[in-house]
């Protein structure tokens, strides 16, 4: 009955900064990505050898690459590519991961053991390694990236959703639902899922940021989209040869990745600050 906790109390202003920044930045990235579907400053794949290796502002916002292609346009289309791969991969993770995690928390016992064991095993394979394995078999491409990243996200969401679900199960209202005659499946639908949805959404936002990061790594190694489709990672790989001549080639795509990931991370953290009562007062 001690009515005082030692944690610092919550204040209004500082915490919302992250959420605001997150919404703004990730919104900007998403907007650019969508915009690229209808318009870019230059056609991104059009080669203009006369304009090759021009620095930023001399030709286009971010300069041109070794084939005279406008870097900024490539970045815009790259945004769409990265974002769509990331979202699809994370969606795979959410759908399968939450289903398995919620089942593990509801069934417990042997079923839970098996599911968590499988999650542990898949966890041991970072997306990069799986991508290498998959690419060796069926070749590189967007599908490879999506499967590799998606498969890695499944155990992430298994763990997160199981943890959250377990905490909800510990409440008496689940017992009350049992007393009302509801079975574990029904209770999961009625009570568990609505209560973990928020936490899952927050994690999904952060995972999207991570997926963008991973996809950049994959396309750097050529495991993701194939040319001529622009992708940030591959742009960086191309830039490496021209590092001394045209350093801007290496800087712009990297900034794009960092900003996109930052935006989604801030968004996820901001949402967590705002909605997770356990973290009150602790940014």
């Amino acid at each position: 009955m001690s009515d005082v906790s030692a944690t610092p109390p919550r204040f209004g202003t500082g915490l919302n900064l992250r959420l605001t920044l997150g919404i703004v930045i990730s919104g900007l990235v998403a907007a650019l990505a969508l915009l690229s579907l209808v318009w870019t400053p230059q056609p991104p794949t059009k080669m203009r050898m006369a304009m090759k290796l021009k620095p930023p502002l001399e030709s286009g916002l971010a300069g041109t690459d070794a084939f005279g292609r406008d870097i900024f346009s490539q970045i815009m289309v790259g945004a769409w590519n990265s974002l769509s791969i990331a979202v699809v991969a994370v969606a795979i993770g959410v759908v399968f991961g939450v289903a398995l995690g919620a089942t593990a928390a509801a069934k417990r016992g042997f079923v839970e053991e098996v599911i968590m064991r499988m999650a542990d095993v898949v966890f041991a394979f970072p997306a990069l390694i799986s991508a290498i394995m998959i690419a060796a078999l069926v070749g590189a491409g967007a599908k490879t990236a999506i499967i590799a990243i998606g498969v890695f996200n499944i155990p992430v969401f298994i763990r997160v959703s199981r943890g959250l679900a377990q905490r909800v199960w510990a409440n008496d209202f689940c017992l009350a639902a049992q007393a009302a005659g509801k079975g574990a499946f029904r209770i999961t639908i009625d009570h568990i899922l609505p209560n973990i949805a928020g936490g899952i959404a927050i994690q999904a936002t952060i995972q999207i940021g991570l997926a963008i990061l991973v996809e950049a790594g994959l396309s750097y190694l050529g495991l993701s989209l194939s040319p001529p489709a622009p992708s940030w990672g591959r742009m960086l790989s191309d830039a490496q040869t021209y590092l001394s001549q045209a350093p801007w080639m290496a800087i712009a795509p990297g900034i794009a990745v960092a900003v996109a990931v930052l935006g989604f991370n801030l968004l996820g953290d901001g949402l967590r600050d705002r909605f997770d009562p356990r973290r009150e007062g602790r940014p």
Binding site: S5, A6, T7, P8, G14, R117, M118, D120, V121, V122, F123, A124, F125, P126, A127, L128, I129, I132, M133, I134, A135, A136, L137, V138, G209, L213, V214, A216, G217, Y220, L221, L223, G233, L236, A239, Q240, L243, S244, P247, A250, I251, P253, G254, V257, A258, V259, V261, L262, N265, L266, D269, R282, P283
Partner: protein, 314 residues
């Protein structure tokens, strides 16, 4: 206690086993014909058959699997199709680059991340905290391979303090370490950022516990309360994250080795990929997975030491 240790060990071995089955199933069973893949579509059937026999692909699946597993103990993991040398040897010599790299990165990451996180938690919402939070937030978002590129741009291309990549071998240890330094820093950055965040949040979480109040009520100095009570109990979640992050460290090593042109296992994986050398990829993938599982097992064991509650009652 012994029962707990045995249980963990069994769990570790089981996970390794399942992982190896997974690798084997995806590499050897599903794709059809590894030899055909290697030789390409234009190859003649008898050439394919000959290669199959050479690679031992004409044996039934479980024989191939057991041969592979047994080979892990005897040091014979098959022959690399593209290099023509034993895979085990290849992995062995590349290890000499990747392991030191990963270790250096781990040490740098922990050495920066944990103290920074503790300092941020101790000066909650003040200067050091805000600075650390910014560092953490930005550091997580920066791709390690891009950071590597930037480092090359700055320290090699511009300042000419370091070479742009490559590895001189361990003959000259100092030169070898110097060659690994920039890659290790690039690899360590996002890990340090994550550790800063996790450490800060773990210490803050623990600071809300009742025993911190008891420690303060005793009249202990702030420093002692912070380190002996708060951080000491925050070590469990921190260790957990180190374990979880290790798989990302591994992936990062693959990327960074390629950026800096280091002859490590990561680069081997990439090269094998371009050659479609499934035999090598199989063992490399298993190596990485096995490493991650091992590290997580060690972290699991560390809980027994870090959290007396896990040891069970006496």
């Amino acid at each position: 206690m012994r029962a707990i240790l045995l249980g963990r060990l069994g769990s570790f071995l089981l996970t390794l086993l399942i992982a190896s089955l997974l690798v084997f199933a995806s590499m050897d069973l599903l794709p059809g014909n590894a030899a055909a893949i290697l030789l390409g579509t234009a190859a003649r059937p008898d050439t394919i058959a000959a290669l199959e026999q050479q690679l031992g692909l004409d044996q039934p699946a479980y024989v191939r699997y057991l041969t592979w597993i047994a080979g892990a103990f005897t040091g014979d993991l098959g022959q690399s199709a593209s290099y023509g040398v034993p895979v085990a040897g290849l992995i062995g010599e590349r290890l000499a680059v990747t392991m030191p790299l990963a270790l250096m990165a781990l040490v740098i990451a922990v050495g920066i991340g944990v103290p920074l996180g503790v300092a941020a938690a101790a000066r909650w919402r003040q200067g050091p905290d805000r600075a650390a939070s910014v560092f953490a937030q930005v550091g997580i978002a920066i791709p390690d391979f891009w950071f590597g590129l930037l480092l090359i741009l700055l320290f090699s291309t511009t300042l000419q303090w370091f070479s742009a990549g490559g590895f001189p071998g361990w003959g000259d240890p100092l030169a070898a370490l110097k060659a690994l330094l920039l890659p290790a820093i690039a690899l360590a950055l996002p890990q340090a950022a994550i550790l800063t965040r996790v450490t800060r949040s773990a210490v803050l979480d623990v600071s809300g516990e009742d025993y911190i109040r008891t420690a303060q009520a005793k009249g202990l100095t702030e420093g002692r309360v912070l380190w002996k009570h708060a951080v000491r109990n925050a070590l469990v979640p921190i260790a957990t994250i180190i374990g979880l992050q290790f798989s990302f460290l591994v992936a990062g090593a693959v990327l960074v080795e390629n950026v800096f042109n280091l002859p490590g296992i990561g680069r081997l994986a990439y090269q094998a990929l371009s050659q479609r050398d499934l035999v090598v990829i199989r063992s490399v993938a298993m190596f990485f997975a096995g490493l991650v599982i091992l590290v997580n097992f060690l972290v699991d064991l560390s809980y027994l030491w870090l959290d007396p509650r896990m040891r069970g009652r006496r």
